[in-house]
Amino acid sequence: MWFLSIHFWFLTDFMSRFKSVDDEIEESERISHKTDSEDSDPLLAMGDELATYILILLPLKTLFRSKCVSIRWNRLISDPLFACMYVNRQGGGSHTHMTTPTSFFHQLDFFAFDYGYLPPEDKRLNFLRLDNDAKVENDDNHVAVQQRVRSFDHNFFIVDSSNGLLLFARTGNQCRNYYVSNLLSKQWVGLPEPKRLYPYESAKLVCKYDDGYKPSLAQIKFEVLLFSRYQIMSSLFLEIFSSETGNWRMVVLHNYPSYLRTLHCHTLFNGAAYWLDVHADGAGRIAALDFSHLKMSSMPLRSVPYNEIAVMPEDCVQFIPLPASSDLPSNGFLGFSGGLLHYAESNLTNLHIWALSSGGLSQASQVAWSRKHSVSLQFMIDEHPDIFRLIANYRGEYDIGHKQHRFHFSPLAFHPSGLHLVLLNLPGMIVSYHIEKRKLEVVHHYNVQNFQHVPRFTVLSYNYPAWPTQFPSVKSGHASPLCSLERC
């Protein structure tokens, strides 16, 4: 019925336009400065400069909607110069495509063990903002994202976020579907199925903007990296999806030391992936894979009947030893904060955080960890009795001396801008911990049945793009049909 009414509107509008328009008025006059419609528009009668002055004060959503008002408005708002001025209006640098207040998505980990007892609302995607200095304009964006997020069902899991784009996964019948989306501009793309199905895999999204100067002209490219969390053979297999080709390709790294047991906690920064290798006897190290190698070096393709697998040169991966005083790598956590790699370890009594003082991959030989922070769980309990009482209520008194009453406080995320904030997972709640002030704040509550088995959460930081850009429609690959949800 809606469909019909739109057609009717088009028809009547078109007909009335046809009747009232004189034959001699041509396309050029329609957009010239002389027609009546121009004079009646007070905003544009003032000239572009003053009009810009006003439009710059508008929040992003209203601004983009206003593109529909008239041709002159559309042209004004779509102007790359306007985009630059808008992004700059608060005086805070235009060379990033992101605005500064950071928000976080959190959701139950896609591969978390079956927490069937959790009610659906605890499995849903949540969106929260930690910084208090978020400006008023961003409230509009925050509300917009909140609305989008509310319409997801609990089968949709967030997997990664990069530069304003998000990667989601959904389990179907014997397949796993991945989707990439830009929540603000409501664009979605469904990726074709990857070639292999791994029982436990990790996916990472890498999103790059091409042109740094003109936000509205920037081209976005993205890649999705897929790798198995459990290493079976002595080769490391990766699948990479590229938005430019619209296809997955497989890459293998041979002679990956076979003492590796699990791959977990990946993190991606500056085109390199970092993950934690843990040996069966408890030793651990950090592996870093520089993805730029995959493009730059010309790799011999080993042709296999229906798959192309490119072989990575062995120096692609570098290893970074863990800090000397770390003793429980299986409880380790990697993350980036303020441009530095951070490693956190939590055992039942303490939380330690180290920062890698050297730059990263290229200086792996001069690795130096500096202990950034250590805090004992007992201290936290003493400082925030009211928070811990909520947990203690569940099982009775918390007693750090008694093993059966202990629980982990595992790190979930570091604040990317280096604001000394760490998100921790406590039974039944997610808290933010401020390293310098040594203060805890509860951010989210969830149900927990047994506080010794706490579900794992995925927490991802997200920055709003300062200027929403269309992301490219993904080319349909010849290997498998692309299921794309246009404008989902």
Partner: protein, 220 residues
């Protein structure tokens, strides 16, 4: 800061207005003209009508008197009298608000502002242009914010209605922009489409109603 100097401004419709030096200096343009030596005669303002100039002078007088009274209640520091001080005073307010008199002054100023800018659309835009021409920062900011508030949160149709703008897109262009570029909410049929594609993603009846209401504007 009493000054005997008086200047005469002449509008495009031939009327003349006399103002004090301190009031005249609120406008950077006039200030420059005076400093360049054009103040001894009539100062012509061919771009400003008398109706608008009255409003502008009202603003300038308030600005000056506000500045004077704030100097009395503050420590009497030398504050620069340029047009930015209007804004700076507002920003610095939290610290000074400890003084009850200051608080009252600020309140009164806010009320005055609200009444002052509550004007016709046409007058507002003329005022905006005048403030730009006369280079009065505070007035420009105030008028621009008021204009933005008339646009904020509105759908395109509402904006067109407010400003009497003609929709000069062809239906195809319009649909094109609306779909691709304008960050719009979905039409109910788009939602239908999506629902069919993601088969197990159900909207509850309430959510669906809400979605339909939110998107009614897209149908127009």
């Amino acid at each position: 800061m009493a000054s005997a100097k008086v200047f005469v401004l002449r509008t495009c419709d031939g009327e003349t207005f006399e103002i004090d030096e301190s009031v005249a200096y609120v406008s950077e343009t006039i200030k420059n003209m005076i400093e360049d030596g054009f103040g001894h005669d009539l100062i012509p303002l061919p771009n400003v009508s008398s109706k608008i100039l009255l409003k502008v002078i009202e603003y300038c007088r308030k600005h000056v008197s506000n500045f004077e009274s704030s100097k009395k209640t503050s420590n009497g520091d030398e504050k620069d009298k340029d047009n930015d001080s209007w804004k700076k005073e507002k920003e610095a307010v939290p610290e000074v608000e400890k003084d009850a008199e200051e608080k009252a002054r600020v309140e009164e100023l806010k009320e005055w502002e609200t009444t002052f800018i509550d004007i016709d659309q046409q007058v507002l835009f003329d005022l905006l242009q005048a403030a730009n021409y006369l280079n009065i920062k505070g007035l420009l900011v105030m008028a621009a914010e008021k204009a933005a508030s008339m646009i904020r949160g509105k759908t395109p149709e509402q904006i067109r209605e407010t400003f009497n703008i003609k929709n000069d897109f062809t239906p195809e262009e319009y649909e094109d922009i609306r779909k691709k570029d304008a960050m719009n909410d979905f039409t109910p049929e788009e939602y239908e489409e999506i629902r069919k594609k993601i088969a197990d993603n159900h909207f509850t009846p309430e959510e669906y109603e809400q979605i339909r209401k939110e998107n009614a504007w897209a149908i127009e």
